[in-house]
C-alpha cells in the first residue's frame, strides 16, 4: 500500500523526542532492512521494523498508530544484527510509551477472562502490564 507521508509543524519535534528517549538511535539508521528480515514477528506487523525507523526519521506521527509497535516482542534480534548499531527495541518502546503516557492502555486487564488470568504465570502478567499499560 502506498502511503503519503504527512509532515507538519510537529514533525521535527517528534523525531527529536524519540531520538532523546532512545539515546540517539534515530539518525543512525541507513534503511538497510536487516531488522525487518530478522524480526521474528514481522509477518504479524502492519509495517516492518525498518519502516518504523523511517517514519520516525521523517517525523510522521502516524507511526504511533501502527500495530507494529505493539507486536514488537522486545526480542533484541534486530539489536544484535543492525550494522549501524541501532537498538530498534528502544525505538518501539519509546513509541509505546509516548502512547501510554497519554493514559490510554493497549491492554485492558479487566477485560481478560478470569479463568485465563488464573492459569497465567505472574511473569507473563507483569511483563505484559509493563509493555501494554502505563
Amino acid at each position: 500500500m502506498t502511503r503519503v507521508v504527512m509532515l507538519n509543524d510537529n514533525s521535527e519535534a517528534f523525531t527529536k523526542k524519540v531520538n532523546e528517549m532512545t539515546n540517539d538511535m534515530i539518525t543512525l539508521c541507513e534503511q538497510c532492512g536487516i531488522c525487518s528480515t530478522s524480526c521474528p514477528v514481522a509477518e504479524d506487523m502492519d509495517i516492518p521494523p525498518s519502516e518504523i525507523m523511517r517514519l520516525v526519521q521523517l517525523g510522521d506521527e502516524y507511526v504511533l498508530e501502527t500495530k507494529a509497535i505493539w507486536v514488537c516482542a522486545s526480542c533484541y534480534t534486530c539489536t544484535v544484527r543492525c550494522p549501524r548499531g541501532v537498538d530498534l527495541s528502544k525505538v518501539t518502546e519509546a513509541l509505546r510509551q509516548i502512547n501510554l503516557r497519554t493514559n490510554v492502555n493497549y491492554l485492558d486487564i479487566d477485560n481478560l477472562d478470569s479463568e485465563e488470568v488464573e492459569e497465567l504465570p505472574a511473569i507473563a502478567l507483569v511483563s505484559a502490564m509493563r509493555k501494554y499499560t502505563g
Partner: protein, 300 residues
C-alpha cells in the same frame, strides 16, 4: 564445604516451586552451592526498561542489588557480590539495570537519592546466571557429579532471547551459543541442534489478544526440534517454558496434526540427572516427560 551465593529467585520460582524453585535450589545444593535468598527482595519488573527518560522502572531492580550489599554487611554471605539468578528474564532485567547505573553516574545518583531510606547502591554487584556459575565451575566437574547420566536421551536446548541478547548482557555468543549444549553434554545426553533455538517465543504476547503469535512460534520451534531428532527441549526462561509447554494446548487447537513434545526447565533435568528425581517436579509440566524417560530406561 558449601559455597554461599546471594540468590534472587524472582516470582516464577516461588509461584511454581515444584517446577522451578525446588529443582533449582536443590540441584545447586547437590553441587555444593548454597543459594541464600535475598531477604525482602522485590519484583524486578520482568522486562528491562528501555527508554532513557524512564528512571522509575530502574528503581526496583537496583533495590535488589542494595540487598546484596546488605547481605555482605550482615555476614549472610562472605564477601560474595555475585548475585545468582536462574530466571532468564530476571537475569536480563537486573543485569541491564546494573549496567545502566554503572555506566551512568548521574542516573545512579538520581536513583540513590530517590531511595533515601536505603543505603546507597555502590554499583559493586555482578549479576550472573546460574549457567555461568556452572561454566566457571567447569562442565567437566559437573559431569563427574552426575549420578544418572542421560544416556540415549536427545535434548534440544532452547535459548530464547534474554540469555543471549543484547550482546552486552548475554552469557554467550548471541548468534552461535554453546553454553547450553555443553550443559546437556555434561548430563550425558545427546545434544540436538535446533536451528530455531534463539527465535523469540512471543514472550508476553501470551497475555491478551496476540496469543496466536505465541502458539505459532511454539509450533515452529517445537517442530524444528522434532525434525532435528529431539526427544525433548530444555529452556532457562520460565516464560519460554510456559509458552513452549503450556501453550502447546493452543498450538494443537490451531494445528490438529501437531505432536506434543516435553519442554523442561533446565534445572528439572539437572536435578533428575543428579539423582534427585523426587525434586525434579516432573509431574508439573503440561507435556509429561516421564514416558520418554521411561522409554529410554532412565526411569522406572
Amino acid at each position: 564445604m558449601m559455597k554461599k551465593f546471594p540468590y534472587y529467585p524472582g516470582c516464577t520460582l516461588k509461584q511454581y516451586p515444584k517446577k522451578f524453585g525446588i529443582p533449582s535450589e536443590e540441584s545447586a545444593r547437590a553441587l555444593g552451592l548454597e543459594m541464600v535468598e535475598i531477604p525482602r527482595w522485590n519484583c524486578c519488573g520482568a522486562v528491562a526498561s528501555l527508554t532513557a527518560d524512564d528512571m522509575m522502572h530502574q528503581v526496583a531492580p537496583i533495590r535488589n542489588l542494595i540487598r546484596v550489599q546488605e547481605m555482605n554487611d550482615e555476614g549472610l554471605v562472605d564477601n560474595e557480590y555475585r548475585l545468582v539468578v536462574f530466571c532468564s528474564m530476571c537475569f536480563n532485567t537486573l543485569k541491564r539495570a546494573n549496567m545502566m547505573v554503572k555506566e551512568n553516574e548521574a542516573a545512579l545518583n538520581t536513583i540513590n537519592e530517590f531511595m533515601d531510606r536505603e543505603q546507597d547502591y555502590k554499583a559493586n554487584v555482578e549479576v550472573v546466571h546460574f549457567l555461568e556459575i556452572l561454566r566457571d565451575m567447569g562442565f567437566y566437574r559437573l559431569e563427574d557429579m552426575i549420578k544418572k547420566p542421560l544416556k540415549g536421551l536427545k535434548i534440544a536446548p532452547y535459548y530464547g532471547c534474554n540469555l543471549l541478547r543484547p550482546k552486552e548482557v548475554g552469557i554467550d555468543n548471541p548468534e552461535a551459543p554453546t553454553i547450553m549444549e555443553n550443559f546437556v553434554e555434561a548430563l550425558g545426553a545427546e545434544v540436538i541442534d535446533n536451528p530455531l533455538k534463539s527465535l523469540c517465543c512471543g514472550s508476553y504476547h501470551t497475555v491478551g489478544g496476540h496469543k496466536d503469535i505465541v502458539a505459532e512460534r511454539t509450533y515452529a520451534i517445537v517442530n524444528a526440534a522434532r525434525k532435528a531428532g529431539a526427544d525433548m527441549m530444555i529452556t532457562a526462561c520460565p516464560l519460554c517454558a510456559f509458552n513452549l509447554d503450556d501453550r502447546q494446548a493452543l498450538t494443537k487447537e490451531l494445528h490438529p496434526e501437531f505432536q506434543h513434545m516435553p519442554v523442561l526447565y533446565f534445572t528439572q533435568i539437572l536435578a533428575f540427572a543428579l539423582g534427585l528425581e523426587d525434586k525434579a517436579g516432573l509431574e508439573e509440566n503440561y507435556v509429561d516427560a516421564r514416558p520418554i524417560l521411561r522409554e529410554k530406561g532412565l526411569m522406572d
